[in-house]
């Protein structure tokens, strides 16, 4: 298939996955900001976390000067001036889809086009009136719908593979960053006294819920969440669909099934990363230091993204 088409499909699904992840991020921070803050301020710190994770805090401060709940939420979700807002991610996804509408099914196109038309309506009425949780739900739902339409209608050929690649590169990066940020905030598990267990419990639970892994955690570990278990679940468990391991399995599988010789570097790196996750234990990760390990892996995922680009999306 055309490299430009592959690139548009890849970025279409990356942007859509990003929009979904941003909504998940916003959802968890918003609900935590509503909890009693143990004398730790008014929840603004929590609300600013999505900005910190996405690297947009500086731009926000430059524009608004101070943290302000309503402005943070608008900036992050619907601000057309913020290139990293959910609004603009959906816009970019739709624009990529528009460029390849001949290569995706009518159902997929209509779905993504409808999402775009709808978010413009939501932006007009404002987040406050629409409701923040409802908005986050809506974004997730549109993403689920699109994935369902894709899964149910598109031929299992190269276009499908590039769509999957975009989704899982973006998701791998997101899982790593969310875990890293929550770990930074909580630090090492401390002996749980004086209300701290409650705080740590809610924080980890919120992260698990944001990554739709709460039920999986409960079923596998049957206990309260802590750094070790949560990290193992989100990094190394193949059966959890948003875990790093699951993402890497899928990436490696998709890359291996692409035709042609020019994809060797990307295929090799993906297989290497997959194997590393398969044979790493959580003890090794924690021994290295969770933050260090996560930061290293974020760079590796980025390297894989570059390899996909130079192998397929900008060749000849």
């Amino acid at each position: 298939m055309l490299s430009r088409t592959a690139s548009d499909l890849y970025w279409m699904s990356r942007y859509l996955e990003r929009a979904e992840n941003l909504a998940r991020m916003l959802d968890v921070s918003y609900s935590l900001s509503l909890m009693p803050q143990d004398g730790r301020g008014d929840g603004l710190e929590e609300l600013a976390m999505p900005l910190l994770i996405t690297g947009t805090l500086e731009e926000y401060m430059a524009r608004h000067g101070q943290l302000h709940a309503e402005r943070i939420l608008h900036f992050f979700a619907l601000d057309a001036e913020n290139p990293a807002s959910i609004y603009n991610c959906l816009g970019a996804a739709r624009s990529n889809a528009h460029a390849v509408r001949g290569r995706i099914t009518a159902e997929m196109w209509e779905n993504i086009n409808a999402s775009w038309l709808e978010i413009r309506g939501i932006a007009e009425q404002g987040l406050g009136r629409y409701g923040i949780s409802r908005f986050c739900e809506w974004v997730k739902e549109r993403s689920h719908l699109f994935r369902g339409a894709t899964f149910g209608t598109i031929m299992r050929g190269d276009p499908y593979r590039f769509i999957r690649l975009g989704t899982f590169i973006e998701r791998a990066d997101n899982t790593l960053r969310l875990l890293d940020a929550r770990y930074e905030m909580l630090g090492e598990d401390i002996d749980e006294v004086d209300g701290r267990p409650a705080r740590s419990y809610y924080q980890w639970s919120a992260l698990l819920r944001a990554l739709s892994s709460f039920e999986a955690f409960a079923e596998i570990y049957r206990g309260s969440p802590g750094t070790r278990k949560v990290s193992e679940l989100l990094l190394l468990r193949p059966e959890v669909p948003r875990s790093l391991r699951a993402c890497m399995d899928e990436l490696s599988l998709m890359l291996a099934s692409l035709p042609g010789e020019n994809g060797r570097p990307a295929q090799r790196l993906a297989a290497e990363l997959e194997a590393r996750l398969r044979y790493t234990s959580i003890n090794e990760v924690l021994d290295e230091g969770l933050h260090t390990w996560l930061t290293d892996f974020i760079l590796l995922v980025r390297k894989l993204g570059h390899a996909i680009h130079s192998s397929y999306l900008e060749v000849a």
Binding site: M1, R4, T5, R101, G102, R103, P259, G260, Y312, V315
Partner: protein
């Protein structure tokens, strides 16, 4: 001046024409609210599907819906057979004219068309001179614009031999009608048209001498007004939709950049004007084309559909000669009439035109899309005087025709159902044989009294039925 219009649905005495009776009965029986609700549904579906076009000159590139009217335009099968014969005849003659013009030029030597008329024409491409094309075909895809005068007889208003558009609306309109009103299609026999993309692909494949050529659709990109159609056709045919930057030329062969390396391209269904095709040969500023494409084309390694240089044959100043072409090449009488045309390049014609500007339609010979034309009876004094000045300054750039009494068809408007003027564009495919699907695109001028049906001027579309009578 009292003008009478031919109403497609009703006779002058108010009686419904036979081929519309089944529909009229249905319309009378169906509750108004239901119809209104279905119309809203159609708008929503078109919007959701992104079946839109972009207006030039609109900086924001806003995507707009082409208004769709739910009352179909209906043609009895017997009448259609005549129209079909006429279109085939006309396109055959035009293709023969192009082949002749770019080779022996017999028609010039026979004194039927003056040499300066064609050789000095902007659409004439010297690069095509002497080049042999497979099957001698130049306009593989042609759109013939037809209108009906007061007595109902069909006239050809113009030929479109470059990159005629609108076929996607023809297909989407039908899909929409079948979705909204399936009962209508059960009640009478309406000729199907959905196989058009199939015929198009066959036409494109047979334009190449190869057995199984690699066909692509070349689009100027997603900001082009007809981008929806380019994407639509490539998807329906299952071929790649490429932009100029996806293609490159090496050793006079055209390749596309794919995820598995370079792949050769054999047939390009290009929806890009001649001028933009190859920056090395034509407009050097074109970012849309493919450097070296003309050279590859001339060495016979790739087919362009339509060929380069067809514009000379659909130019409005060439139009008056088409009936003579039919007689000259086919030795037949034209089935479809031409609208009488004054060529302002001729002094006698020009003075007639200047004296009667208030009653005529004046068009630029190179214009399209309803831009740059004057409809005398509908124009203000100032507009007429403005055109007078333009005509005197550059007479050869204009032709004039009597204002036709375009036929009308009942149409939903704000106030209910009212007659509005329509035209018809059937799409003619020339490959191993010359074919068209029954019907075409019916465009409707939604403003009361307006004779301009172009979508860029606020026109809408209707589904077009050919019904067994």
């Amino acid at each position: 001046m009292v003008r009478t219009f031919y109403n497609e649905m009703y006779q002058a005495n108010g009686e419904c024409r036979p081929h519309y009776q089944a529909f009229a009965r249905w319309l009378a029986e169906t509750p108004k609210e239901l119809l209104a609700q279905r119309r809203r549904e159609a708008d929503l579906l078109f919007h959701r599907a992104g079946i839109t076009f972009t207006l030039y000159g609109d900086e924001q590139g806003t995507e707009r819906l082409i208004p769709f009217d739910t009352i179909p335009r209906s043609i009895p099968a017997s009448e259609w057979r005549m129209v079909e014969r006429g279109c085939i005849q006309r396109v055959q003659a035009l293709n023969m004219f192009l082949a002749d013009l770019y080779h022996e030029q017999r028609i010039i030597k026979a004194g039927i068309i003056p040499a300066e008329q064609v050789l000095a024409n902007e659409g004439y491409q010297i690069a095509m001179q002497g080049l042999n094309l497979h099957r001698d075909l130049y306009a593989h895809i042609a759109g013939v614009d037809l209108v009906r005068d007061g007595d109902g007889s069909y006239y050809v208003l113009e030929d479109n031999l470059r990159t005629p558009s609108g076929v996607s609306y023809m297909l989407e309109d039908r899909k929409m009608m079948m979705r909204l009103f399936p009962e209508l299609f059960a009640a009478q026999r309406i000729a199907p048209i959905n196989h058009y993309p199939n015929l198009l692909l066959e036409t494109l494949k047979t334009s190449s001498p190869l057995d199984n050529p690699n066909v692509v659709v070349l689009t100027p990109g997603r900001f082009n007004s007809a981008y929806f159609e380019h994407a639509f056709l490539s998807r329906e045919m299952g071929v790649e939709l490429v932009e100029g930057a996806d293609l490159f030329v090496r050793d006079d062969k055209v390749y596309m950049r794919t995820t598995a390396g370079a792949k050769q391209v054999d047939v390009i269904y290009r929806r890009l004007d001649d001028d933009f095709l190859d920056p090395l040969a034509f407009n050097p500023d074109s970012m849309l084309g493919v450097p070296g494409l003309l050279s590859a084309y001339r060495s016979g390694h790739v087919v362009l559909a339509n060929a380069i240089g067809t514009g000379v044959a659909d130019d409005k100043s060439t139009y008056p000669y088409v009936t003579e072409m039919i007689r000259f090449y086919l030795d037949e009488e034209p089935v479809l009439k031409n609208v009488p045309t004054w060529q302002c390049s001729k002094p006698a014609d020009l003075s007639h035109v200047l004296a009667n500007l208030g009653e005529l339609v004046v068009k630029e010979t190179q214009g399209s899309g309803g831009y740059g034309m004057l409809v005398g009876p509908a124009a203000s004094k100032a507009e007429i005087e403005d055109f007078r000045a333009r005509l005197i300054a550059k007479p050869e750039a204009y032709i004039a025709q009597p204002t036709l009494c375009l036929s009308t068809c009942p149409t939903f408007v704000e106030t209910g159902i009212a007659p509005r003027h329509i035209d018809l564009r059937p799409f003619v495919l020339s490959g191993r044989e010359v074919r068209l699907v029954p019907g075409g695109l019916t465009r409707v001028a939604l403003r009361e009294g307006s004779l301009v049906v172009n979508s860029s001027q606020g026109g809408g579309t209707k589904d077009t039925w050919v019904v067994e009578d």
